[in-house]
């Protein structure tokens, strides 16, 4: 059986070559030290969590083989979105990253597909780079943060991006940036910003796309949300009630939010079988796709084995999640 993984991160070789030579890559430096060292930006250290972040494409392929993953859809590791750079730097960062991802997809066309990063701080440049990524480089769409440097995606200036993505048939994969998580303002303890904050950010972008009218404005837009969309679908009942009783929730949408949840795709990183079963029962198995969060999650032994081992899913459901849905969505 084929397997296609939509949620796989890249810390690009162009970044490593630059920082290992002692230079800054768009304001990011590398400091060796305890463990695997850390990247540093504006005085803030981010430890390198796994040696796999240095993997060459060849090493990545070996790891994929060990995991039983045939195809990875590669996207930038989220701290490197670069939305806070000045627009010219942001454009160049995006070009560098997308060119590297494109080389990987051309050299190993049966093993890698790609999602671009976009200079979202400049919407005009973003649309241009998405066009280049899809029509010239052959990437499948783009990965976006769940917010854009303090802005939310329902702001009117971003609509041209969604219209362009819709017109191109580009897939937009939303993934929060853990370093900029809404929980960090409340607590940095116990790792809660990752275990609670990240899925809440996922749920908020689902809500933004729905309540902000983006899915209505762009009925053919293809969107996938990381981490199963967080608890968005679990909490749809409360979202529906809010829509019923509060006019601010009905500002742009005239149907309850639950009627939109089957418009999105969701990766299968729900951290429990019960939660995955719930998600499948809410949105339909056609909307759930394989994701691994490579290289940050140590699956035992692999995300593919996890899905295949689930007792409450039929073989047909597993097949859809493991490859059929993404083969259709991405034209693979």
């Amino acid at each position: 059986m084929r397997t296609i993984d939509i949620h796989a991160h890249l810390m690009p070789q162009c970044l490593w070559k630059t920082v290992d030579a002692g230079q800054a890559w768009y304001g990011i430096r590398y400091e060796p030290g305890a463990g695997l060292g850390a990247t540093v930006r504006d005085g803030k250290r981010s430890p390198i969590q796994t040696p796999k972040l240095r993997f060459t494409p060849e090493e990545r392929l070996q790891d994929m083989d060990a995991q039983g993953v045939d195809v990875q859809v590669i996207s930038i590791h989220t701290p490197f979105f670069g939305y806070d750079l000045d627009p010219a730097q942001g454009r160049q960062l995006a070009r560098d990253v997308n060119d590297e991802i494109a080389v990987m997809t051309r050299q190993w066309p049966t093993r890698f597909a790609g999602l671009a990063t976009l200079p979202a701080q400049d919407v005009g440049a973003t649309v241009e780079e998405l066009e280049r990524a899809v029509r010239v480089l052959g990437l499948k769409g783009a990965e976006l943060d769940t917010v854009m440097h303090g802005h939310t995606w329902d702001e009117p200036q971003f609509l041209p991006l969604f219209k362009a993505a819709e017109a191109m048939g580009a897939v937009l994969f939303f993934h929060p940036q853990p370093q900029d998580n809404l929980m960090l303002s409340q607590t940095a303890q116990y790792g809660l910003a990752n275990s609670i904050g990240v899925p809440v950010e996922d749920a908020l972008v689902v809500a933004t796309l729905i309540f902000g009218g983006i899915l209505d404005a762009c009925p053919d837009l293809k969107v996938c949300i990381a981490h199963g969309g967080g608890p968005a679908c679990f909490g749809m009942g409360r979202l529906d009630r809010g829509w019923q009783v509060r006019s601010e929730a009905r500002r742009y949408i005239h149907k309850p939010p639950s009627t939109y949840q089957r418009r999105l795709y969701y990766d299968c990183i729900t951290n429990s079988e019960a939660a995955l079963r719930f998600l499948i029962d809410q949105v339909g198995v056609d909307r759930v796709v394989l994701g691994s969060d490579w290289p940050f999650v140590q699956w035992e032994p692999s995300p593919v084995a996890w899905v295949q081992g689930l007792q409450s899913l039929t073989p047909e459901e597993k097949s859809k999640i493991l490859w059929e849905n993404l083969a259709q969505l991405l034209g693979l």
Binding site: V147, T152, L182, M183, S185, Q186, T187, Q189, Y190, G191, L192, N194, S195, I196, V198, P199, V200, E201, A203, L204, A207, T208, F211, G212, H227, G230, P231, F234, G235, M236, G237, R238, L239, D240, R241, G242, W243, V245, R246, E248, A249, R251, T270, N271, S272, A274, A275, F278, D281, Q282, V297, Q298
Partner: protein, 151 residues
């Protein structure tokens, strides 16, 4: 928490309340309060928010992050049945999920009266649910609280 991201569409309530309730659970558990006070009786509103649905990720965090194991030696899922949860989850599927995760003896009746987010006919809603047994409905509607509050 949610207001720091966006304050519209009533999301600070419809997502924010549930996120905050999850943080309540997590703070009490990861912070060692439930260990320090083994007989403490806590009820979490709004079905405990995202707690029961997101417990898998919290367990994962406990496994892989040392800072999550500072004060507790068991994963957070081991503490789910230390709490009570009201039934304000709005859908039968979510209520069934809550019951299956924490046990029906931990789920109690709540309405959120008199706020506009409350159910129109909360008792009727429980009674109408097809995927709950009569025993489960009675446990939620009065038996669990009669026991908990010694009524």
């Amino acid at each position: 928490m949610v207001s720091s991201r966006l304050s519209c569409y009533h999301l600070p309530n419809t997502i924010g309340n549930l996120a905050e309730r999850t943080v309540t659970f997590a703070s009490l558990v990861f912070g060692g309060v439930m260990d320090a006070c083994p007989d403490l009786k806590i009820c979490l509103s709004h079905g405990g928010g995202y707690t029961c649905y997101g417990i898998g990720r919290m367990d994962r965090g406990w496994q892989v992050r040392a800072e999550a194991r500072q004060r507790i030696t068991q994963p957070p899922s081991m503490y789910l049945r230390r709490f009570y949860y009201d039934c304000i989850v709005y859908t039968e599927q979510a209520l069934r999920y809550l019951i299956d995760t924490v046990g029906v003896d931990r789920v109690v009746f709540g309405t959120d009266w008199p706020y506009d987010m409350e159910f129109d006919w909360p008792v009727s809603w429980i009674l109408s649910l097809e995927n709950l047994t009569q025993d489960e409905k009675e446990a939620i509607l009065w038996k669990n609280l009669e026991r908990l509050l010694s009524l």
